[in-house]
Structure formats: C-alpha cells, structure tokens
C-alpha cells in the first residue's frame, strides 16, 4: 500500500502516527487512572466510572457557558478552572456515593458492580433530565484548537499535546500522592490489611471515602479533558467503560505502573492496527489479543508480590 508514496510522506505519516498512538495512550491512562485507584486499590467495581467522567464534562460545559456570558475576557483560561471544578464535583459526588452506597458493600465486590450499574442508570437519566437528551457542544478557547506545524508535513494536534500534558501531570501527582505522602501510606496500609490499619490508629472509613473520592475526581478531570476530543451527552460515559476496565485488569489490578504499561501496549496495538487494517477489525483484534493474553496470564502484566 505504500508503493505510491514518497519517502518524505511516509516518514511524516509515521511520525504523526506515532503521536496518534501517544495521544491514545494518554487518553487511556487518563481514563484508567481513576479506576485503577478505585478498582485496583479498593477492589470496588465502579460501573458508574463513565458517568463520573461525564459529570466532569458537563462541569466543563457549564463553565464554558458561564465564562462566555459573564467573563468573556477570561475565556481563554477557563479550561483550567473547569478542570478543577470537574475534579471537585466528581470527587464530592464520589464521596457521597461512597458514604451512601459503597461502604456497605466492601465485603461483596460483585455487588458493588450491580449497585454502581444502578447508579450509572440514575446518573444518565439525571443528566438527561437536567441537560437534555442531546449532546452539548463545549466551546473551546481558540488556543486549544488547531495544530502545531513541526515540519512542512508533520502536524501535531494541540489538544492532543494538552491531553498528554494533563495526563503526565496527574499521573505524577497521583504517584507522589500514593507512594510519597502520608495519605498514600495510609491508603496502602488500609488496602493491604484493613483491621491492622485500623488497629494502628488509621481512620479506615475516612481513608476509604477520600480514596474513592480521589478516583472519581480523576475521572472528572478525564471527562473534562475529553470534551476536547469526544462527545458530551448523557450516555457518552458508556463508550469508555469496557476499554477502561480492560486496561486496568490487563495491567494487573493492584499496580499503577501496570495500568500505565497496559494502556501503552493496548493503545499502540490499536493505533498501529487501525492504520494497517480497518477500524472495526482493529478494535476486535485488539480486544481479542487482550482477552487472549489475560487467559494465559490472568494476573495481568504487573502484579504485586503479595501473600494471599
């Protein structure tokens, strides 16, 4: 298929394709990070993860509308505020949900799946009642639109770079929080051994609530960032849920590094296959490969060496 093109063209395409893969990688990491905390660290199957993301997206939408009407001068910068708001809104809702629902179910992980599925239905309908059944268009500040011209033929989308930056920032932040802070130490202690953590004086209930809130908050930021590349509607969250879970499971649930590695391998496979095959087949083959590898290596790519 490449016979007809010049070497320069091909080089440029491969460079851009590489970036496409990296952007997809960032998107996947951002999607999966919140879930990796909730599912990987806490063992809660949060089927409403997509809806938390969409809450972030709707917050961004509201923010953009607000700035357009009342503070047009500050519009170019609204996106940063929107992401913070998205984090707060999703995080607060997450903590509420943890308090009302999840904390009763820590001993029954499969039941969290059903309960959060019910929650996702309720949230979807709530979005539909509040924002209408149609997708909403989020106005972006102009500096986020368009592409960077690297050479004559290589162009890199700015919003892709932005997503990559946000992903890096949040990943580093989460890693520091979990592995370097006192809070993270307590989180890991609670996850490793709840009664023992309680015994040494850690308020496990509080830790649970904050951890869940943190996971949901990151989902909200992801949703906010995705308004640049995807759609915002009541059911948009459903588009992400299967991919997200597979990434976390494939990475080995208890490991942040695993999640990143798995997002990298899945995104590269998919974006390469998409380039050489048709889109539908690429998706099927990627998913099949993931399931196939999981059958051979069910613990995922990375696992913590833990005695069970």
């Amino acid at each position: 298929m490449f016979g007809d093109y010049s070497l320069g063209d091909l080089g440029a395409i491969f460079a851009m394709q590489g970036f496409a893969g990296l952007i997809l990688f960032s998107v996947y990491v951002l999607m999966a990070l919140g879930l990796a905390i909730i599912f990987g660290q806490m063992g809660v199957i949060n089927m409403a993860h997509g809806e938390f993301m969409i809450l972030g997206a709707y917050m961004t939408y509201l923010c953009s509308a607000f700035f357009q009407t009342y503070l047009p001068a500050l519009f170019p910068a609204y996106f940063f505020l929107a992401m913070i708001l998205a984090f707060c809104a999703s995080g607060a809702l997450g903590m509420l949900v943890e308090w009302a629902l999840i904390r009763h179910l820590y001993k029954r992980p499969l039941d969290t799946l059903l309960a959060t599925w019910g929650l996702s239905l309720i949230l979807q309908q709530a979005y539909r009642s509040i924002f209408g059944a149609r997708e909403v268009g989020v106005e972006l500040p102009s500096w986020l639109i368009g592409s960077v011209q690297v050479t004559d033929s290589i162009e890199i989308p700015i919003n892709g770079l932005f997503v990559m930056a946000v992903t890096t920032l949040i990943t580093v932040g989460v890693a520091l929080l979990i592995y370097r802070s006192r809070f993270g130490q307590q989180v890991r202690a609670v996850m490793a051994n709840r009664p023992m953590a309680g015994a040494v004086g850690i308020d496990t209930e509080k830790i649970d609530r904050y951890t869940f809130g943190l996971g949901c908050g990151i989902a909200g930021v992801a949703g906010s960032a995705f308004t640049m590349i995807g759609s915002t509607g009541p059911t948009s969250g459903q588009l992400y849920i299967v991919d997200t879970f597979l990434i976390v499971v494939f990475g080995g649930a208890a490991s942040l590094l695993g999640t990143i590695a798995s997002a990298f391998s899945i995104s590269q496979t998919q974006s390469t296959l998409e380039f050489f095959l048709s889109g539908s087949m690429a998706k099927v083959l990627t998913l099949l490969a993931v399931v196939g590898i999981l059958m051979l290596r069910p613990q995922g790519l990375f696992t913590l060496k833990v005695r069970r």
């Binding site: 093109y5 972006l140 919003n159 009541p234």
Partner: protein, 415 residues
C-alpha cells in the same frame, strides 16, 4: 400518555360510555363536524365521533434519545397544528406516545401494543433502520400504518410503511455529482460507522464514483458505533490526500471525528468534506467551529428560504424553545401527520387499506422543504440540497437540485 386506558377492558368500558350518549340521547347534529364514525372506520380502529388515535413511537431514553427527540417534537407540532385546524375528518388526533428505549425488541413490543391494544389508526415513529426492521413484521401482520422519517439505506418497500425521508440514492447521487462538477472531486476517502446504513450508502457512492464519475475511491474505513479515536484514520487521509472526504459517521463518534479532524490541522475550507450524516442537530454537539466549511447533503436545511419554512421554524421554536434547531429528519417527521391527514381526507376514511390506496401521487405543497409528492413505491419525491456548514451551526445552501428526484429504493446498477 393516557394511563387510564391501558387495560383493554377499561378501555372498552370507557369507549362504550363515551359512545352511548352520542348514539342514543343527543341528536346527531351535535357531532356534525365530520362524517359518521361507521363510515370512516370499518376495521375497528380507535376512531370515535370526536377523536382518532395516533401513536408516536420513538426512543425517549437510551442512546438514540439524542437523535429522536427532534423527530418526536416535530410530530407533536404537526399534530397540534392539525388539531387546531379542525383535525382529520372532523376528529381531533389523540396521541399515545410510547418509548422505544433505543432497544429494538422494545420497539417491536410497543408497536404491537399501539396496534393491537390501542388500535392506533397510524403510527409516527422509529429512527434507526434496526428499529424499523424490528417493527416492520408487526405492521405487516396487523395491517398498521407507519410513517418513518429518517433518511435510510433503501432496499425496502412495504405496503404498510411510508418513508418520508430519502432513500440512499436520492440523498447521495446528486451530492456526488455536485462535488464532482463544482469541486473537481475525483478521489474519495470514505469514513463510516460500522453498520448497514453507512455500508450500503458507501456501496452506492462507490459504484457511482467508479462507474459514473470515473473517479477513484482511495480508502474506505468503518469504525464500531461509539468509537471515539480517529487519529489513525485521519493520518491515513493525510497520506492518501483525497480530493473529497465522504463521511457517514453517526452518534457520539461524529463529535469525536470532527473535533479530531479539526485539531489535526485539516482545514475544511481547503479540504472538501461531504457528509450525509450531519444535520443542524448534530452540529449542536459537534460545535459549529469544528465543522464549519464542511458540505452536507440533505433534502432540508433550517435555512431554506420560503414561506412554509419560515412559518414552520417559527412555530417549532415557539413550541419547543428558541434554542432548538431543526434538522433534516425533524422536518421529514413533520411531514408524516400531514401526509396521513391528506390521505385520510382523500380516502374519506381512516381504514388503513383505503389510506394506503389514496396515498400515491398525493402532493403536499405546505412542506417546509418546499413541495413533496408520494411515489407509488411509498417514498417521497424530493429535492436534494447541499449545504455548507457555518460557524453558527446553520448551513448555507450552495446547491439545490433543479427537479424533484424520484425515489428508487432498489437502484439498478448500484447493488
């Protein structure tokens, strides 16, 4: 929604109560607005001296609710207008609305309920092909009447269905001819969602490009419904450098595709993009900035200049709010109740067989799109228009086919 009439027994009782005084106590002249019920309904449809029942069957919940909202609003508007003007054959239209919930068996179930339990004289509804395919056997078995508003892939013709949208050749061919002639389009890249409508449409488009326009299709790609990552295909487009990108991506994927296309630096004021899946409704979600410059091929745009359309747009906004927009399917849905009314009046009856017999060659001059005619094959003759998307979410119409185009659901040479 009338909850009280759900049980068949209660329904019969109530209808009996309603009919009793009319038959015995009051003089017939009190209801002289239209012909006698026994004359206009002989097959047991839900027609009383004052009312006729019409079903509306769209998804109010689920993934398709996004698209079907407009259609459902237009149907309600048309029915309200008809009722204000005296109804059909002197009878007001009573609406029974059911939710298909974006789930095809639910559509079949609700269609059956509307026909068997509620005895609707006609049903306005369905949006996706899958939902139509699911209800079609029901309508044929119980001899119902369905007005289907969406542009679709063709390859179907049923006695019990009127298709008020375009079939594929009507929508695509004139648009391709235009892009070939005006924009010098000779190489095409097809991008679609992976299901029957895009695949059939692209098949027809490919035949037309290769056999009639003597052009070349340099790529054809399909993505699962709901796919949100298009960077790889955009790179392929950049590599193959087609004159025209031809798209039929639907739903949430649509939004993702145009946002990413815009971000990748493809400038739609230079690169020709022809789509058959973007109406004003979709632009709402995509954002006008992201798609400005693209050409869309439809039979109706909200910006059409004529008296019918001005009134339609004003009425629609009055009923559903200033901010609503009107897309191709919304307008096609608006035609349904009017075409039904005209057919009933011509037939002098609500009986499905008579309405169907009276329908061919009916002309509706009040259509917002201008003027339409029902073909004997139950599709509409209509014009094809090409609109250029503007940043405000409206289209500037750049081409209108000079004549009405004949519907051809089973096109020879395109299969």
């Amino acid at each position: 929604m009338d909850r009280g009439l759900r049980s068949p027994l209660r329904r019969k009782l109530l209808m009996g109560l309603a009919a009793a005084p009319a038959l015995s106590l009051l003089p017939r002249t009190a209801f002289a607005a239209g012909p006698a019920t026994s004359a206009v309904s002989t097959t047991g449809l839900a027609v009383t001296d004052t009312e006729v029942t019409c079903g509306i069957l769209h998804s109010i919940t689920g993934t398709m609710a996004i698209s079907e909202t407009g259609a459902q609003q237009a149907e309600k508007l048309a029915i309200a207008q008809i009722n204000e003007a005296g109804g059909i054959l002197g009878r007001k239209i009573k609406i029974i609305q059911e939710d298909g919930a974006s789930d095809w068996p639910t559509f079949a179930e609700k269609a059956k309920k509307l026909l068997v339990n509620d005895k609707c004289a006609a049903v306005m509804g369905c949006w996706t092909s899958a939902s139509r395919k699911a209800v079609l056997p029901v309508f044929e078995q119980y001899n119902g009447l369905l007005y289907y508003p969406t542009f679709y892939e063709g390859l179907e013709q049923s006695k019990n269905v009127f298709y008020t949208g375009q079939e594929a050749t009507q929508q695509i061919l004139a648009g391709l001819d235009w892009v070939h002639k005006e924009k010098g389009g000779d190489t095409f890249f097809f991008v679609g969602s992976d299901y029957i409508w895009p695949r059939t449409s692209n098949k027809i488009a490919r035949k037309h490009v290769e056999n009639v326009l003597k052009g070349k299709v340099v790529g054809e790609e399909y993505f699962p419904l709901g796919h949100t990552q298009f960077n790889s295909v955009i790179n392929k487009i950049k590599l193959t450098k087609p004159k025209v990108i031809f798209t039929d991506v639907v739903g949430g994927s649509n939004v993702a595709f145009y946002k990413q296309l815009k971000a990748s630096g493809i400038d739609l004021s230079k690169q020709v993009l022809l789509t058959i899946s973007v109406t004003e409704d979709e632009i709402d979600g995509i954002g006008g900035d992201n798609i400005a410059g693209a050409y869309s091929c439809m039979k109706y745009f909200q910006s059409i200049e004529n008296e019918n359309n001005k009134k339609f747009v004003a009425d629609f906004k009055k009923m559903w709010g200033e901010k609503t927009v009107i897309g191709d399917v919304t307008q096609a849905a608006y035609l349904g109740p009017y075409l039904w009314k005209m057919a009933c009046e011509k037939a002098g009856s609500f009986d499905v067989d008579k309405v169907v017999a009276a329908s061919p060659d009916l002309e509706f001059k009040g259509a917002p799109e201008g003027y339409v005619r029902i073909d004997p094959n139950h599709h509409l003759w209509s014009k094809t228009r090409v609109g250029k998307a503007k940043t405000d979410g409206q289209f500037e119409i750049v081409y209108t086919s000079p004549e009405l185009i004949k519907p051809d659901p089973f096109p020879k040479g395109y299969q």
